[in-house]
Amino acid sequence: MRLMLLFSNLMVPMIFVFIILYGYSKNISIYDVFIEGAKDGFKTVLQILPTLIGLMVAVGILRASGALDIFSQLVSPLAELIGFPTEAVPLTFMRLVSSSASTGILLDLFKNYGPDSFLGRFVSVMMSCTETVFYTMSVYFMSVKVTKTRYTLAGAMFANFAGVAASLWICNVIWK
């Protein structure tokens, strides 16, 4: 499992080296292109900001009111039965529905439990292997006016479920 963490450490530097060398080999003026791309990223983040403000305020209110704790207590018997971190339950459901709302909950968990706690690590891994199923499906299928989606939802839910289970397993192996 130390290999896994070594992989984490080497991934970004290796991508840098690879892309820079590849860029040179194709005679790209890499710095100019980098600046251009960075501008795009800047715009993307600024577009996210209003959504993030809206959703973080909503989650902040839910947290301060004690509603999130009450919900956690309600589901805790079931979650503990399968060894699932109770505090991660709201996030797991929200993840399927809305990307920005789940980000709000994720940041709330980081704030309250820390990103380096077991919970923080688990939700990080889980967020990276799951997708906003309902939103994505509606965008893509609506674009071609398909209304009968057959087994798409079942397949996607299964994949997400497998991802959540794999995250829990790997985090238990590495950090517990």
Binding site: I19, F34, E36, G37, F42, L46, V57, A58, A64
Partner: protein, 193 residues
């Protein structure tokens, strides 16, 4: 969707606060959270811009095109119903590669084009074809190699090692994608005539 979700979240929060006696905390929470959203975005501005800059080099150098071509044999396995050299395969490849590199803005337009091309091959226009189902499940099983946003969020909340989740995240993503493909292939075989 969010029009309901957002309002309901706040209303529930305030209603619960009325019962738990935490009403005074609500205002503080609202103010603090909005400030936090801004500080988080400032951290993200740096990390995301760095990443998109790097990926722009890859795109400009033609790396995405090269990788798309390399993917073709695998796509032929996933989508046996799509004729060889059909346009939709190109769009699917671009969508998948862009997703792997976390280029969301490049992924979605290519994905929608892929759906449109697959719709041309589809016999029943209101019903998803086999290829469409596979494409959607594959796409939604999460393909991203490195979740840069997460690294940004973790570093914003003072993680000692924001990137330590890359390896485990890669593993979990691999499992979810594999599971998505496997279950779809099984359903295609046993359930769909």
């Amino acid at each position: 969707m969010l029009n309901y979700l957002w309002g309901v979240m706040i209303l529930i929060g305030i209603a619960v606060a009325a019962f738990t006696g935490k009403m005074p905390d609500i205002t503080n929470a609202a103010v603090d959270s909005s400030k936090e959203a801004v500080t988080t975005c400032i951290t993200m501005l740096g990390i995301i811009s760095m990443w998109t800059g790097l990926m722009k080099i890859a795109e400009e150098a033609g790396l995405i095109k090269v990788l798309s071509k390399k993917m073709m044999p695998f796509l032929r396995f996933l989508f046996p119903d799509i004729p060889k050299k059909h346009k939709s395969l190109e769009y699917i490849a671009t969508n998948v590669i862009a997703n792997i590199f976390g280029l969301g803005w490049a992924a979605t337009p290519a994905g929608i084009k892929a759906m449109e091309e697959m719709q041309k091959l589809n016999l029943k226009k209101d019903t998803a074809s086999k290829s469409m189902c596979m494409f959607m499940v594959f796409n939604m099983s999460s393909l991203q190699l490195i979740c840069v946003n997460l690294i940004a969020y973790r570093s914003q909340y003072n993680s000692q090692s924001p990137s330590e989740i890359i390896g485990p995240g890669f593993f979990a993503t691999f499992i979810s994608t594999l599971a998505g493909i496997a279950i779809t292939k099984v359903i295609e075989r046993w359930y769909v005539k």
